[in-house]
Amino acid sequence: MALSIATRELDGVTILDLSGRITLGEGSVQLRDAVRELISKGVKNILIGLGEVNYIDSSGLGELVSAYTTAKNQQASVKLLNLTKKVKDVLQLTKLYTVFDIYEDEASAIASYK
């Protein structure tokens, strides 16, 4: 299943709800475009919901990192929400778990931006 992205706003935070796979040739480009579009519009608080992402490859990991660094360079912030076990395991294995601010519930994630 390819990646689908739904965008919503809550208390000044733009939430991207991702569903599907973040992989080379499927989800990576959509994720990159979505994040860059938000940043180009001046959005500062971006929360990426990964609760429905059941697969990520090295390209997808790279795209998450790029989203993080692109945001940081623009004084914006990308945080992660609701990791599935599979995605969490891969983030831990690659030590990317230490890079991102990661939240298990949306309310805590939203509050962290205040």
Partner: protein, 147 residues
């Protein structure tokens, strides 16, 4: 769960992402057939996909004149996957550890690290031209537990 019998699959495929999807699908069928449960199969499929992507993208650079060859074979004890491209090869010595502090924010360079994390043995062979990567998993370790 039984691992009786043995089987060998050979695929010669174009240098495309469709081929990567085909490799994934064939590998998924094979792992299911030999009784590897989903949690244990997931990292193996991920490693196989990374190897196929490397062959298509970094090895053959999507060159339609080049193909990749994938073999999958197993006996009761061992699963062996090989992925061969026709590219110019590369040096393992130049691959940095993506977990090092200075590499953590790189946008690439995690594929081979993941492959090595998920398989018991990973061997690269330069073919001049081309690269063969051979992935070995001891099946007793995969039976019912995630690696």
């Amino acid at each position: 769960m039984t691992h009786t019998g043995s089987e060998r699959i050979r695929l010669q495929l174009a240098s495309s992402m469709e081929s990567v999807a085909q490799v994934e699908a064939e590998a998924e069928k094979l792992l299911h057939t030999i009784g590897i449960e989903e949690d244990a199969a997931f990292p193996l499929l991920m490693g196989i996909r990374e190897a196929a992507v490397n062959a298509v993208l970094h090895g053959n650079s999507y060159d339609p004149a080049k193909s990749i060859v994938v073999t999958m074979e197993h006996d009761p004890e061992t699963l062996v996957i090989t992925v061969t491209d026709q590219g110019e090869g590369f040096s393992l010595d130049t691959l940095p550890d993506p977990r090092e502090e200075e590499n953590l924010l790189r946008g690439s360079g995690r594929g081979i690290f993941l492959i090595r994390s998920f398989f018991d043995e990973v061997h690269f062979r330069q073919l001049h031209p081309g690269t063969e990567v051979r992935l070995v998993k001891k099946l007793a370790d995969s039976a019912g537990q995630a690696s």
